[in-house]
């Protein structure tokens, strides 16, 4: 099966994990990331300080082996699939079935697989089409034999979108799209490419990069998540200021449904041809059919890519700066602001420094805290990615430096910016390590109007503290956040939360309740249900607070129109049971 390098359940690559390399020190294994191979002596102390508890190697929980029930196989369906696909692209192997039966929710998916030993419902058979014709044939077979068909891309969703309905009695066929990863054509004159939907972000950038192009879509999950998954989840990328979010990038897409293929015959840069079926693909979360290919905007690779960082006295200064940058006409490809705790978490992930480097660091610290009077417990920091022509990048940096001064900030240099930006990909492994030592950790996100940022973050922080106190959580909970995207009318906030599971009867269930309470708190204070993670199963019960009844009816009617038999029965969002 595709992508053997990945861990079958946990986030990311099998060769990469955090582990104790001494009683008080942690290192990242493998060689894939800047952090890899380095010993990090500051992480444990920081986590212990934040959570008010003590961690050690002895507390590592052992992995269990998940049990996989026998598949429920409809013989007629299996015979049909046998006719359609060679055996190497059909599997009922328990490991393959299991790895296609979950996303990446720390609580509810990964914890159940790694420590609970089972998940509610496992796919019965995994198929791997290689082209659209096969996809159509598989869909037709699923309809004919009343199977439940579920498209599978990178398996990185964190909304429970890949949790199969527990009571699904039909044979569940997981359709792994990752063999469909060809760039079918490149239109240099018009800056677009037709690409199969199973391609991962990394593979897409490699393929386009070889031709001198980039798509520019850079979600945190881009190593694994796929084009089709991006559309189905309405994904957002770190460099959206330059390249757009997925809805800006996709010119047209093809959706294969039980009622036929939904597509636009004459895709154009922009049209007014009545209501657009394409618009419903964004956020469709596997409910309507399977996305097989998309026409996407591509751009010549930027001549220059420069990182940068800025240190602010506090988060509020940083937010004010971000807002000003939007109107100054010098928006970099990526601009992200971490709050104080998240900044210090980034610092805690540094390797031990020695010699000249340690001396330079000490000097920098002396300058920042001694001379300029910054406070380590309030400062916040921004990472920047600037792309374009050398002129464009130089102008952006000039403008950003000028604005930074106005907001009492200090230019933190390129290396810190690069490190902060790339940390995104490595930090995902931290969650699973925390879980091993009994700390419940997860991320979640929302979008909020500019003037509600403080309110939403504050309310979330207070709600988490009181929920944990009420449940007798040991020590105190941790909440950090960053502004990852800015828009004209608001921003995306990305939270990281953690608390000790020690002593709780059911840490997973406590987490679930707390998470739902926090979401309600976010909604009550003007935040959205999700900026880019989606609804899946996790946020389903909040939908009536978001869409009016008539709006939900409209969505469900669209579903019924193209999938009257609920063949695509994954039941996400408004299409839940």
């Amino acid at each position: 099966m595709a992508d053997d390098a990945r861990h079958p359940y946990r986030w990311g690559y099998a060769d990469t994990r955090l582990e104790f390399d001494g009683p008080r020190s942690v290192r990242m294994t493998g060689t894939r990331y800047p952090l890899s191979g380095q010993s990090m002596p500051h992480l444990l102390p920081y986590v212990e300080q934040m959570l008010g508890l003590t961690l050690d190697a002895a507390s590592i929980r052992p992995d269990s082996t998940p049990s996989v029930p026998a598949p429920q196989l409809d013989p007629a369906l299996m015979a049909a699939l046998e006719r359609l696909l060679p055996s190497e692209r059909r599997s009922t192997d328990p490991r393959a079935r299991l790895s296609h039966s979950h996303g990446q929710l720390a609580i509810g998916e990964i914890d159940r697989l790694v420590y609970g030993g089972r998940i509610a419902r496992v796919a019965d058979v995994v198929v791997e089409p290689i082209d659209e014709e096969e996809v159509r044939a598989i869909v037709a077979a699923a309809v004919e034999h009343d199977a439940c068909l579920v498209p599978y891309g990178g398996g990185t969703n964190v909304s429970g979108a890949l949790m199969y309905p527990e009571d699904e009695a039909r044979t569940i066929v997981s359709m792994d799209m990752r063999r469909m990863r060809r760039v079918l054509s490149v239109d240099r004159a018009n800056g677009s490419a037709l690409v199969e939907a199973g391609i991962s972000g990394t593979d897409l950038e490699a393929a386009l990069g070889a031709l001198g192009y980039t798509c520019g879509h850079t979600p945190d999950s881009m190593e694994f998540s796929t084009l089709g998954g991006w559309i189905a989840t309405n994904a957002s990328g770190m460099k959206k200021n330059r390249y757009g979010n997925i809805e800006d990038i996709v010119v047209e897409a093809t959706l294969v449904t039980p009622a036929g293929t939904v597509e636009t015959r004459r895709p154009a840069a922009r049209t007014s041809t009545g209501m657009q079926p394409l618009s419903l693909l964004f956020g469709s979360e596997g409910n309507l059919g399977v996305i097989t290919k998309a026409l996407i905007a591509i751009h010549p690779k930027p001549e220059t890519c420069r990182y940068g960082s800025i240190v602010f006295r506090d988060f509020a200064d940083g937010v004010a700066f971000l807002k000003e940058v939007r109107t100054a006409g010098a928006l970099p490809a990526s601009i992200r602001l971490v709050n104080n705790r998240e900044f210090r978490l980034g610092q805690a992930l540094r390797p031990a420094s020695h010699g000249l480097h340690a001396w330079k660091s000490a000097l920098q610290r002396q300058w920042l805290f001694g001379v300029l009077g910054f406070d380590l417990t309030t400062l916040a920091a921004c990472t920047l990615v600037m792309e374009g022509t050398p002129d464009e990048v130089a102008r952006q940096e000039r403008e950003l430096r000028r604005l930074a001064k106005r907001f009492r900030a200090v230019w933190g240099g390129e290396e810190n910016g690069r490190r902060g930006y790339l940390l995104t990909f490595a930090i995902a492994y931290l969650r699973d390590f925390m879980s091993q030592v009994g700390v419940v950790a997860e991320t979640f996100e929302t979008s909020v109007p500019w003037d509600r940022i403080e309110e939403v973050c504050g309310a979330t922080e207070r709600a988490l503290a009181s929920e944990c106190a009420a449940r007798g959580v040991v020590g105190q909970p941790y909440l950090s956040y960053r502004v990852t995207q800015t828009y004209h009318t608001g921003v995306c906030i990305y939270f990281t939360m953690a608390f000790s599971g020690h002593g709780l009867a059911d840490p997973g269930s406590a987490f679930h309740d707390i998470e739902q309470t926090l979401r309600q708190e976010i909604l009550d204070h003007g935040g959205s249900l999700s900026h880019h993670h989606g609804v899946g199963k996790l946020r389903q019960r909040f939908l009536p607070q978001v869409h009016s009844a008539a709006g939900l009816r409209l969505i469900r009617a669209a579903k019924s129109a193209v999938d009257p038999g609920n063949t695509f029965g994954i039941g996400n969002g408004a299409c839940g049971r």
Copy 2:
């Protein structure tokens, strides 16, 4: 009824029209536009040269008075409307009914009203709600009494979207939304405003302008078209590079349908909350319900607004320049390129020049054609609108001037740019004048990939010539075009066509056939069905070439879900009968 200053049928204001002010000279009446009150001696000669015929005042066709059939009024419905609305906001007056029964198609609407004396189906009663509660009550009454309800905004559509189905047996209620024109709230902190959907572009800009803001949406029709109409048509504005098209401007909108209100409770800058009902409002063309209000992005009025113009040796140079501008990072709010004929049409609309001005013009022409060697019969020109801070505008102009040089072009100055931009609003009156002298004239548009611009324009030109020749059109047809919008993967092309109707048995029907032939030609060469005019009735038969059957099914299911009884029975686009 709202907007008494408008002509009841023709485009625009009643006080503004083109008329002969001498045997060989034309002037624009009124005082509303820069052209108003000026005698234009060059227009007739240009039109005669282009069309190969002679025009004179004696050929003016007199207007007829359209006959209006008696209304078909369901007494129970009328009683319900009487209970809901005071008499001054209900009307069965023939003139009011007629003015609510057409858009602005030159052929098929205006010609039938002004010369044909009748249109197929006229609204039976016009109602004018003042708030959303009244709208809901009217919708409920229409459902209860099985009426056909049609939202009415500015009445400016040019796709037959307001043509009532000829066989509509139910009472047709035209719901004029223009009394709902309040700015309900302004959120300065987050750059948005909640606005009632019946507001016109001019009124919206005036209301926001008084507060220091602009919405920036500037369709050619902005004097009359409404916010609700923009959404329903998926409108595009001249300054979309800075402010976006309507789908970029609208954060959230409210749609009242027979099944209830479709809206998002927690609008946010960007979300991933599953499929978005809002997305179907764009291009809904009155099929789903009535749009009552929208949350839109607003921007502080730009400190500086500067016009500019550039003259190119030919259209191809201009296109290459436009493409380069998109990647140079100095995109002005508006940039539009007219082809040679359209440039000369603009020149033909100049008043007679005398004294110093004439001398200066002559000198400029000598420079351009004599010294630089430009050819009057091949050159093309660009008008620019730059907005922003003084710095931003200065930087844009610097960059544009630098690029212009690379494309062998000459900076044509601010006054020509302003004139070219503002001509848009006045030129609409030309069409009706041409019609008076027996020339069939209309505009139409499409979007095409960058590398198909020449092909689509050429194919359209050739098809028009051969169609006219085959029909024995006197003289030769006229086709000019401009690039009005640029995007990453393509552009919008806006065509103006005209030919003599003299001697044709049925000029309107000839036009209709030719127009449909040209559209097919455009589609066959890679153009789209429409960039911003919409489908309405005019382009309905081409829809199966655009959307797959499953896509159309999805759209119709959405319609049925919120309007099962087809109360909103205008039958546009995919919802036609």
